[in-house]
């Protein structure tokens, strides 16, 4: 592997938004875990669709509606290929990871769990992969249990304990993230899902931070459900994906009801269409799905293995460089980290640090990153976070470091 981020040279010019100044300095966008930016081809495709092909889908018989329907369903097929799903019918379009997880919580978990059974998750989950399970547990009388995050700075979960826990507890359902959005650790999803499958536990993978970053093959991983968001992988906001194994989706009741999802309706009752349309009540985000398909084309042209090694390179470099700063505390593991680095610099509050960096054009995230219980466990009320994508350069890591050094002077950390 070359010791230099190698994808930025080829990709930066594809992202119009990156070429601007913020507060008089060239923008350094390091908030990719919150949302990535889009290449011109995705922006163009969305506007082309609205200029040339838009009508409602699955309703009209006229030319535009036919075209829009074809493009929308082709986007579903594209997502299926992106995840190596066995069939497009396994792909449900949603608003994003949050809605995908809520759908499974309502239509599978709440409908099936019985009092005393266990929903297992980890202490590192995003609120989107925590609160739906809290509610499902309250509604069903199931218990919510957590695999602990170990290490003073949150190295990750000790997955060797999983098999014993699965033996000891009446676990029915296991939900966990692939890449942690605050620790930057990478969980061994295939190993986890296979251990769960052996004992008949249904799995959900939160792939919000990995879909645009790592190769994902749902058949090899053998997860039952997987969720991700378009806006975190070069696609539009407001569109996301739920992958579900077909036999599970077919058993599930709708999450929302209305138009587009029924096969026949009388005044008294209705019958549902088969999955995935059963789960797509109302007019969907057609342009979003089409834009997402374009984004996935873009990512696969770069190649996800290349994106992944580029990410890991930037993540490791940032980690090693940040360690040079006096008084820094970096969260997450030392080894095997993705391109996400959360930290606390001396006694400077994350909010002040982010405001300071912004004055020099460096966009960071500050706060609890929607992982409040984890931050509390690590003894922090907030942390700052730099998160990278393939268009980021090693020079931008230098800019980050210079900014943090001068912030330390400024605030007297």
């Amino acid at each position: 592997m070359v010791n230099r981020a190698f994808l930025s040279d080829r990709t930066r010019q594809d992202f119009p938004i990156l070429h601007q100044s913020v507060n008089g300095h060239p923008l350094v966008y390091l908030d990719n875990a919150a949302s990535t930016q889009r290449p011109g081809c995705v922006i163009e495709e969305i506007s082309r669709y609205y200029r040339e092909d838009h009508a409602n889908v699955h309703r009209g018989l006229h030319a535009l509606s036919t075209r829009a329907t074809q493009l929308y369903e082709a986007a579903r097929t594209r997502v299926a290929r992106f995840l190596n799903a066995a069939q497009p019918a396994s792909i449900v379009f949603t608003r994003g990871t949050t809605e995908s997880i809520n759908l499974v919580a309502a239509s599978w978990v709440t409908a099936r769990l019985r009092p005393g059974e266990v929903i297992l998750t980890t202490e590192m989950e995003h609120h989107a992969n925590l609160i739906p399970w809290q509610i499902a547990a309250q509604r069903t009388g199931a218990q919510l249990k957590f695999l602990p995050v170990t290490g003073e700075d949150g190295a990750g979960v000790d997955w060797d304990r999983l098999e014993r826990l699965l033996d000891e507890l009446p676990v029915r359902f296991l939900a966990f993230t692939h890449i942690s959005n605050s620790l930057g650790c990478v969980n061994p999803i295939a190993r986890i899902c296979q251990a769960a499958k052996k004992v008949g536990v249904i799995t959900l993978v939160d792939a919000a931070q990995s879909a645009g970053h790592s190769p994902l093959d749902v058949q090899a991983i053998d997860c039952d459900f997987l969720a991700f968001s378009g806006h975190k992988c070069c696609g539009p906001t407001g569109i996301g994906v739920l992958y579900g194994k077909s036999h599970l989706l077919e058993q599930m009741e709708p999450y929302q009801v209305g138009g587009e999802m029924i096969s026949s309706v009388t005044y008294e009752r209705a019958e549902w269409k088969p999955a995935p349309h059963r789960f797509e009540a109302g007019t969907p985000h057609i342009a979003g799905a089409i834009g997402l398909a374009k984004a996935l084309d873009y990512l696969d042209r770069l190649g996800r293995p290349a994106i992944e090694s580029n990410d890991h390179l930037l993540g490791r470099l940032a980690y090693e460089r940040l360690r040079e700063l006096p008084g820094i505390r970096i969260l997450g593991p030392r080894q095997d980290r993705a391109g996400i680095v959360s930290f606390q610099l001396g006694r400077i509050h994350a909010h002040d640090l982010v405001a300071y960096a912004d004055q020099f054009g460096v966009a960071l995230r500050g706060g609890h990153h929607c992982t409040q219980p984890l931050m509390r466990k690590l003894g922090l009320s907030a942390s700052a976070r730099a998160s990278f994508y393939f268009y980021n350069t090693t020079e931008e890591i230098d800019r980050l470091l210079n900014t943090l050094r001068s912030a330390a002077d400024y605030f007297g950390a």
Binding site: H349, D352, G366, G367, A382, Y410, F411
Partner: protein, 151 residues
């Protein structure tokens, strides 16, 4: 630099060395301020004296420089003042941070927070301790333990 307007030296000084930092035992009342967006958290302790004055007040917490400095400046400014005057100061402070007027001389050292007007996303940080103050002053003085809602 625009940032220097926000982080005036008075602000940085109070953030590093907050005045009246600490707890007060009951019958002082206690109130919490929490800003979930950025994790600012302040606990305020207020003991009223004779003639409805604020005899003693202290705070603890973990928060950004703006929030810490605002809490610290507030305690210095209103300690020993009648409750009515403290509430008037609060209204004036919040009105001038959110409205078109400058921070007037009545606000004293609080004027160091004027830079917040240019950083509207920091308004909550600057006003958190003041909202906690209002809540504390509206509580009946508790002879009992704890007192005040749990954060």
């Amino acid at each position: 630099m625009e940032l220097d307007e926000l982080y005036q030296s008075m602000i940085l000084d109070h953030a590093r060395r907050p005045r009246n930092f600490g707890e007060l035992a009951p019958p002082a009342v206690r109130s919490e301020g929490y800003n979930p967006a950025c994790g600012d958290q302040i606990t305020l302790y207020v003991r009223k004296g004779q003639n409805d004055t604020i005899e003693e007040l202290r705070f603890t917490g973990q928060a950004c420089a703006i929030c810490m400095a605002s809490a610290s400046l507030m305690t210095v400014q209103i300690k020993g003042k009648p409750v009515r005057e403290a509430l008037r100061l609060e209204r004036e402070f919040i009105r001038s941070l959110t409205g078109p007027d400058d921070l007037g001389p009545a606000l004293g050292n609080l004027r160091a927070l004027a830079g917040v007007k240019r950083f509207p996303q920091r308004l909550k940080c600057a006003t958190l301790s003041w909202h906690a103050l209002e809540e504390a002053l509206n509580q009946p003085a508790g002879p009992s333990e704890g007192g005040g809602p749990q954060g």
